[in-house]
Structure formats: C-alpha cells, structure tokens
C-alpha cells in the first residue's frame, strides 16, 4: 500500500500509446494544494493527453494517477490494479473539474442549466439550492445577465466563462484547463484569463495547458515544459523561461 502524501495531483510514470504513436513516455507530475502549474510545449508534445489522463478521459497504458490520495480508475488489491466500474470512476471525477478548449457547453441547456446540471444530477443538490449557487457562480464570472441564454447566443469568451462556472459548481479539488483560450478570438482571451487569474488568487489548485506565456509568467507557481511525450523541464517560472535547454529555448523564442 502506498502511503498518502501532500500532493493533490500525483501522476506517476504515465505512458500512453495511440496505436504505434507514443503520446506520453514515462511522465510524472506532482501538484500541491493551491499550486498553479502551467504546462507548455509545442503541439503534439502530449500536454493535453497528460491532462486527459489525469481525469481518465484517456486511460494510461502504464502508470497511475492519484488525486487527493485517491487512485483514479483502479482499486489496489493484493498487488494488482483492478479496473473500477464506470460509476465508481464517475464518482472520482467529481473531484476534478475540466475546462475544454472548445468549451463543450451542453447546447440544449441554458447557461444557468449548464451550471446546475452537475450539482443536481451528480451531487444530489436540490434544484433551488443549485440555482442559487449557480447564479452566484455566474456573477463571479461576470455573466449574471446571461443566465437564460443558450450557449449559441453567447460569444466564445462568454461560453468559456460559463464552462468555468460549470466546473466550479462541482466544488472540485483540482481544476484542469485544456488550452482554454486557444479557440477564442484575440479580443476575447482577456476576459477568460481574468477569471482564471482570480481563481488562482482564491487558492484553487490548477493545472493549465496553455500557450499564454504572459498568463504563465504572472500566475503560475511552476511551469512544466513538455516535448515529444516527455517532461523536459519542471521548474519555477523564472528558471523555465530563462532555461538554456535547446528544445525549450526553440519553443520559447518562437512564442515569446
């Protein structure tokens, strides 16, 4: 039995193959309570795959993930890892909230309904209580007046802020952001980063896959730089941004 530790996210030796392609090669990542970790790297470097392995949207071929000392997707039993039922996995996922590149708001539900869906259906909160909390969350992301709108009547930036409110509605232990601003028009990026920044300041534990170096510099406690399915650098913001590692340098010089 592994003893519990202080890490909220503890991913050990994750390997993920898609057919012949090795997307992740023996990757480990630890995140402490309240830490904001940004994952940078060229496209195809495995950043998103790593994030999706954390909440088991992708099942790693090797390695294991502990979230708040919960082994994700498996039960440890006499030296073997037994796959959990989909219902048990669903329960574990409530600790991890995810914000997607393409927002993925439920298109047939209003902004408010998107935010109440999880609490009511998954956590069993009463409709009235969920609505009260959802309106608070929408206010927090600056969208009180859009509660009754369907996603297709919202701009990309507004949709992403509703998605953040939806993620927050589950009162997660960790929030995962998968390139949350990459699908946005440039003038809409700021409003989403603004919300994420205030989340970070409130002490939320966050793992953020992003290309926004400015955000990473300002908010992150650590930067993980990935390339070709491996973690190349995992260090403080200053160390990574000033790194002399040639692969990191190439990437950073191109995006800075």
């Amino acid at each position: 039995m592994r003893e519990s530790n202080d890490y909220i996210v503890d991913a050990r030796n994750i390997t993920k193959d898609f057919g012949d392609f090795r997307a992740l090669d023996d990757v480990s990542l630890q995140v402490k309570q309240g830490e904001v970790v940004c994952i940078l790297g060229p496209s195809g470097s495995g950043k998103s795959t790593l994030l999706r392995c954390l909440n088991h949207l992708e099942r790693p071929n090797e390695g294991a993930v502990w979230i708040d000392n919960d082994l994700i997707g498996y039960k440890e039993e006499n030296g073997v890892l037994r796959e959990l039922s989909s219902a048990a996995l669903a329960k574990q996922r409530t600790k991890l909230a995810m914000v997607f590149q393409r927002f993925n708001l439920f298109g047939h539900r209003t902004a408010l309904e998107n935010v109440t869906e999880g609490p009511v259906q998954v956590l069993g909160v009463s409709q009235a209580e969920a609505k009260r909390k959802a309106l608070e969350l929408l206010k927090r992301v600056g969208l009180s007046d859009k509660a009754k709108n369907y996603p297709n009547a919202l701009s990309g930036g507004q949709q992403q802020r509703v998605a953040i409110a939806r993620a927050l509605s589950m009162e997660p232990t960790v929030m995962l952001f998968d390139e949350p601003t990459s699908a946005l028009d440039p003038e809409l990026v700021g409003e989403v980063l603004h919300v994420m920044k205030s989340l970070a300041q409130s002490g939320m534990t966050m793992v953020v896959v992003t290309h926004e170096i400015g955000f990473a510099r300002e908010v992150a406690d650590r930067i993980v730089f990935m390339d070709e399915g491996k973690v190349v650098l995992d260090d403080t913001v200053t160390e990574v941004l000033n790194s002399t590692n040639p692969r990191a340098r190439d990437f950073l010089d191109a995006v800075l």
Partner: protein, 299 residues
C-alpha cells in the same frame, strides 16, 4: 476623368439608385397555376361524373364500423411505433456500447427485421403457433400460442419490431451526430454512462432523430392497412368487410382515404411542433445588445 466629371457621374448614379423597382414578371407562375387548376378540374369533374355514389360515401363516412376501424388504425399506429421506438432505441444503444456481443446482437436484429417484408412478418407472427405451439417459462407458465397471438398482437409485433430496425439506425445516426466533446464534458462533471446518454446525448440527438421518426409515424398509419391481411379490424379491413357485402368498392375506399388523410394531416402538424421543441439551443435567438464588459488582459 476630371473631378467635376466624376461628381456628375456619381450624381447620375445616385438618381439611378433611387429609381422605382419592378419585380420580374410572374408569367411562368401564372402559367403553372393555369395548368394545375386545369388538372384539378379534370380530376374533380371525373369524380363527379364518374360512377360514384356520393350519398353512399356520406352515409359511411361517420358510420360506427368506419369509426371503429379509424380508432384501431390510430391506436395500432401508436402501439407499433411505441414498440419500434423503445426497441429501436435499445438496439441503437446496444450498437454503441463497448460490449461486442451486444453490438452483434443489434447488427443481427437490424439485418433480420429489415430484410423481411412487413406483410410476410405479419403472417409469421400470426402463424407463430405452427413453430411454437406453447409459449412461456418452462415449468412455471405456459400458454397456447394460438390463444394469445391475436390479430392485434401479431400486427403490433410484426409492424413494431420491423420498424424498430429502421428506428435503431436513425437513433444511432442521431447519437453519432452529437459531438464527442459533449460526452467528455458530461463525464468530466462526474455523470454516469446512463446519465450521459439520457441527459446529454439523447436530448441533443433528438434534433436529428425526430424528422425521420416523424416520417416513420406517418408511414406507420398507412402500414397498419397491411394488417387487413390477417383480419385485424383496422380501417381498410373494415371498409373491405362492408364493400364485400354491398359492392360499393370505390365509395368505401374514398371514405378510408379521407380518414387516412385527416389522421396524417394532424400528425404532420404535431411533428412540426415537436421539431420546434427539440431545436431549442440550436436556433439563434435575438438578444439585446449590451455594452461590452471588457476586462484587462493579463498577457
């Protein structure tokens, strides 16, 4: 061109731009109308002058036997479509589960029930007693097939299970049309598989599913007439029973046709309403513009 010349040209064009507008002549449309009306008159006159006893039509239009047939037709349509939708949705879900056995069962079902003519299926169900004289759970319950396989049950099963194969394909197409991101978002907030399907995927698949299923509904109204072949007393069977006696074939067929058209008109309007309901969130609604609430960018 000089500056004055340019201004003059612009002025002339401004005048042209303000000219009165005239639509293209609609001669072709008028011509079409004339042909269509001429054709209609020809048909109507044919029916009036033809050997049709209109008073017989009027006499049977609201007769109890026709009314009974109408009720049975409508009720059988709903029964058979109910079976088709339940079984078809089940087959579609089996098709997309990771369980390879269920997938194949579903494929086999669709292949089998889509491959045999409906009329033949009606005969098969109606004569099931020839293969299975008794039905039930061995040692617990046993009934004579011939007692329970009434024309009603045989029709419901024959038409419903066959239509289910088509519904299954439509539902599957609907499910596939929902973006995978919706599934991932639902999973990421901790929904179970059944919740993902029932609350996120199927409601959004409806937009794709409803129009063809509406068509199936309308076809089913007419398909029930096949059941006249196994003595189910739906509309066609009942009017046939009448005209076998009184010989007024055309009159009674007109009565039946009239009621089929009425039922289908009603169903078509219901279909439109259901489509509107399930299109919520996909049709853009006009919202009032408000001043943008800009935040400072962090980058």
């Amino acid at each position: 061109m000089t500056a004055e010349g340019l201004t003059a040209a612009v002025d002339t064009r401004s005048q042209v731009a303000a000219f009165e507008r005239k639509k293209r002549p609609v001669i072709v449309q008028w011509a079409t109308a004339v042909v269509a009306i001429a054709f209609l008159v020809f048909v109507v006159v044919g029916f009036i002058q033809g050997n049709i006893n209109w008073s017989t039509v009027g006499q049977y239009l609201f007769s109890p036997a026709v009314f009974e047939g109408l009720l049975n037709t409508v009720w059988m349509t709903f029964l058979a479509m109910g079976i088709a939708i339940v079984v078809g949705t089940g087959m579609a879900i089996m098709r997309i589960t990771p369980n390879a056995v269920l997938q194949r069962v579903s494929k086999f079902y669709i292949w089998f029930f889509r491959g045999i003519p409906q009329l033949l299926q009606l005969y098969l169900w109606y004569n099931l007693a020839l293969i299975f004289p008794t039905l039930g759970i061995p040692g617990v319950l046993s009934v004579n097939t011939i007692d329970i396989m009434t024309p009603l049950l045989a029709t419901a099963l024959g038409l419903g299970l066959c239509q289910a194969a088509y519904v299954a394909e439509v539902v599957r197409a609907g499910i596939i049309s929902v973006d995978q991101g919706q599934v991932e978002a639902a999973e990421s907030i901790g929904m179970k598989y059944s919740q993902v399907l029932a609350r996120v995927v199927l409601p959004q698949a409806m937009r794709v599913i409803i129009p063809p299923v509406g068509n199936y509904f309308i076809s089913m109204v007419k398909l029930t007439s096949l059941a006249s072949a196994i003595q189910f007393s739906e509309m066609l069977y009942n009017v046939q029973t009448i005209y076998f006696v009184n010989g007024q074939v055309m009159e009674l067929l007109i009565v039946a046709a009239f009621w089929y058209l009425i039922v289908i008109t009603v169903l078509t309007s219901v279909q439109g309403r259901i489509e509107t309901y399930f299109s919520k969130g996909t049709v853009r609604t006009v919202t009032k513009k408000k001043p943008k609430n800009r935040h400072k960018t962090g980058a």
